[in-house]
Symmetry: C2
């Protein structure tokens, strides 16, 4: 940590007037918000100035680095093999991590994955894993390392010692209108990922109705910023741009997504979910040196699913982290909803599905009790959506649009209304939109 | 107070994106910073957004009004006569209030003046008054009203019940680089003045080296904003623009300025100081209906000085506020410095005074111990500058440039260096700059 000392207001004024901050000034800020030398009310003034004035790629890289060093940085260099992780900016039905991590590990890269919880209309990997009875996501670093070494993957929550500056800054941004700011989003994501001790990283930057970024150009700008920060830190980062207008796969929730993920590892996954999973996992294999190229990667992934080794990795990880490994054969051990309600097309339904609004589907899950409005909320793992119809599929009177897993009739009625509102029909087949639209590297 | 309730972040985001806030949103902010519903770290994010996005005249008027109503508003309507006050944005050697208030009262308007303390290189009226032994500037509202009624003027500090939102916001602005923002400065000044229960107001907006506003166009913008806010509140406001490059008058400090002020009331004031005083007081008399126009006002002021009635008002006010009224005849009862040091022109001095840098003179007073670096500092009332030479006056070897009143030799040496640095010579008489440059009304 630098011994440089500044007055917070001088740093604020510099950014306010459109200046670029120095490495020392940024470090003073990132460490000062944790130590209290940079008061909360000064940090938020600077955050707003950054929001409105921006940050250069160099400033963003310095901020990422300073935030990363505000807490413990995990050192995995003594572990043999390439350590590669994936991060997604989040979407509805995005359970890719649950499939990708064991699949990549089965193909020979180590996956040290620290994930977050769901908030608002998007779910979180930790919450999904916790649907598995006994599964522990709060491991300390020695346990995390040990499981990573023996199993080849470990999926845990961020430890309190990792990037405290991000927790502090995110809480402040959340209540001061400074969330949607590319340099700050970039530094928040990248500081946490680089603190994991990874060698390289694959990012899935979502855009569209159900994503945090509504516009493709914003997603592209964020992808470029994160790739640049990776470069500055000497870690190769590839960022894929993925459309998120309809939910990924046919399930959304917790138990329903765990089941769908295991089905994927058994070779029975829906096309769109597998397309995204194979693409991202393929990038990990290439970055980690476990495959020559995308074609080679795909061949290895197909083999790992066909021979059951990917499913076995999932099972081993479950067991290592305290989860009941029988889940891969017996889905009934997962929390199960009281009632399943089929939502079917009306008597006048005709044509094709034009739209399955991911945001409304996310709200339907929240209505069922399967989401969080505030970080302190509990989630009902049992509830969710399954059998969701996809854009382009034909509809007629009585076609099954979705099955709601519910524990409360009133909540179910609300969710049904939201799901019906989410799904729109059209007389002619809609023009398909590509799912994966770009790769920044 | 409105019953409207908002999320602070929604208000912040609206301003962040360049929107204009509603009356209710502004009220929620101004009252929320006092009640805590608008957290400090949210207030500073909004202040920075206001700094960078601005505020419309309507927003500024609403902010002023909401801040004013964040605490007690003094009601003087039952007191007979026009209540008129003056406010200056501050300068070095600006003791106009001490002369203007008794002069205006002697001419028939009531002057309910609440002033501030000095900070940095500019002095404060309250500190100057406290040089007079026994003088009390902390009166409660009933005492203030009683003295105003019987004497016709009262000069006190802001009570803690008046505009608490400004104290809170100013403290936050001071440490977050959001001070130099015209709508916020305007609302800060005007909310306090309108809370005094005045009918109309004269403003002295300084610009130049020794002023808060360095550029005339900024001073003009501030003047216009304040006049508009007065109009919106139904109170006539006139704003004079005054150059502040050299100190006003020949004295700066506390005891030295009190003496100079009393000399002015005796008809022996320096030309520049009297020019500003007559101009501002004249506006007050016209606004308060005590004079038909500037010429009539000047005639009345000259008479009030000639017949001793202005000096008598000063004496009465002193007595009413606990100060020793003998000060008007005997300056030796004021705190007096141990030593007076004449600063004289060097052996090679020649020509005319081109510059007397007001900012450096202010720093010289601080060096002597007669200023405040922080609000908690104590000031030495005895020290200061006297006999200060003025721009355009001739110099030769040995010409007296200034007399330093000092209590500490080392501090005196520092102050002397600053004063010598402040004064520049030129071979030819410099072109005089007009002191009063504009009137906005």
């Amino acid at each position: 940590m630098s011994a440089a000392s500044f007055f917070p207001q001088d740093i604020i004024i510099k950014k306010r007037d459109g200046g670029a901050l120095t490495k020392d000034e940024i470090e003073f800020f990132a460490h000062g918000v944790v130590s209290g030398k940079f008061a909360d009310y000064q940090a938020t003034a600077l955050l707003m100035a950054i929001f409105l004035r921006g940050m250069t790629p160099q400033e963003t890289a310095w901020l990422t680095d300073a935030m990363m060093r505000s807490g413990d940085v995990i050192d995995l260099r003594d572990l043999p093999g390439a350590k590669v992780d994936k991060h997604s900016t989040g979407g509805v039905g995005d359970k890719v991590s649950l499939i990708l991590a064991p699949l990549a590990a089965a193909c020979g890269v180590k996956v040290p994955m620290m994930s977050g919880r769901g908030l608002g209309h998007t779910g979180g990997t930790l919450d999904k894993l916790e649907a598995i009875p006994g599964f522990r996501v709060r491991l300390d670093v020695p346990e995390f390392r040990a499981i990573l070494q023996t199993v080849g993957l470990a999926m845990i929550g961020q430890t309190p010692q990792v990037v405290p500056a991000d927790r502090k800054l995110y809480a402040l941004r959340d209540v001061t209108g400074t969330v949607e700011c590319i340099p700050l989003i970039c530094a928040s994501i990248m500081s946490k990922k680089l603190a994991e001790g990874i060698d390289s990283l694959v990012l899935d930057v979502k855009f569209g109705r159900g994503a945090f970024m509504k516009k493709k150009e914003d997603a592209l700008a964020l992808a470029r910023a994160m790739v640049a920060v990776g470069q500055a830190g000497g870690k190769p980062v590839w960022a894929q741009l993925t459309a998120m207008n309809q939910p990924l796969g046919r399930c959304a929730g917790h138990t329903t997504e765990v089941i769908e993920s295991i089905e994927c590892l058994k070779g029975r996954g829906p096309a769109d979910l597998m397309e995204v999973t194979f693409s991202l996992t393929g990038h990990m294999l290439v970055l980690g040196g476990a495959a020559r190229d995308a074609t080679d990667a795909r061949r290895r992934m197909d083999a790992a699913i066909a021979d059951g080794s990917a499913l076995r990795k999932f099972r081993e990880m479950c067991a290592a982290q305290g989860g009941d490994p029988r889940v891969v054969e017996d889905y009934s051990i997962l929390p199960t909803a009281n009632r399943k309600l089929d939502v079917r097309a009306d008597a006048d339904a005709q044509g094709f599905v034009a739209e399955v609004d991911a945001l409304r589907c996310g709200h339907a899950i929240m209505a069922l009790g399967g989401g969080r409005a505030a970080v302190t909320d509990n989630v009902d793992h049992a509830v969710g959506l399954a059998d969701l119809i996809k854009i382009g599929e034909p509809v007629a009177p009585g076609t099954l649009l979705c099955t709601l897993h519910l524990n409360d009739e009133a909540k179910g009625a609300k969710a049904e209304a939201l799901v019906r509102d989410a799904i729109k029909f059209t007389p002619a087949p809609p023009r398909p939109e590509p799912l994966i639209q770009d790769l920044v590297r």
